[in-house]
Amino acid sequence: MKKARMKGKSVDEAVESALAVLGAKKEEATIKVICEGKSGMLGVIGGQEAEVEVMVAGELKDDAKQILQEILDHMKFLSMVETNESEDGVKLNIKGEDMGRIIGKEGATLMSLEILLRAMLGRMKNESVRISVDAGEYKDKRKTALERLACDAADEVSKTGIEKALPPMNPADRRIIHMVLKERKDVSTISRGEGRDRRLVINPQ
């Protein structure tokens, strides 16, 4: 992502000079008007220059890393971001101090970072982006723990023939369990409840 902030007599003029600085075309840029500008008396006195910020998107991986790093810097968390590209999209991993705070209760802060980053990038690129934010492999560890929980519960349901409801979980956690139990023939899964109370139920098959 490249940014340029420029002033000019009009918005158009400011945009043009910013595009010239970036060496970009108008179609590929995101333009934000900082100040519309006003022409003063006789076009000279008391006028205010127009100001714009022009952004040109780069590779998703680089833009995501840059924006996440900027958010963390504003949060005053000393940390750095690693990126990894896979078929599931771009994975960002945060490393540094205060990992507990960055992760939050049951990963709530990580999830919030992901939501905001996705909204910002989506706006910049005019399409939805596939990214995920992790910190110190928290998500990987959580995934392993959830898969173990799911398998234990499924074994129990299979043995007793009685359905079992798991504790309320967020959509991402429920998805992990649905996926891991999809392959089993002896149980089936559904989600029940609304909002924060929504939980996964394992049924005997």
Partner: protein
């Protein structure tokens, strides 16, 4: 905290020049009041308040590091909205 909220909100809206964040001291916590252009309100709140809640969570985490308590309110039509 104000800079953090300003940075996030400005990156989400079409009219960053109309973003105003005011810090008001509440009884137990500081309140950050966020004002944006009327057409940008939806972008800051998001579907089912997801964006607004994400902004709150991140601000809370950053404030907790400094042993502070901060809440974020998004103003719509001069009335505070929880976005929930």
């Amino acid at each position: 905290m104000k800079e953090l909220v300003e940075y996030i909100v400005k990156a989400l809206v079409d009219n960053p020049d109309q973003v105003v964040v005011n810090e008001v001291q509440g009884e137990t916590a500081a309140i950050l009041e966020v004002k944006v252009a009327p057409e940008d309100v939806g972008k800051v709140i998001g579907r089912e308040g997801r964006i607004a809640n994400a902004i709150r969570n991140i601000t809370k985490a950053a404030a907790a590091k400094q042993d502070r308590r901060v809440t974020v309110e998004i103003l719509t039509d001069d009335k505070p909205s929880s976005g929930q």
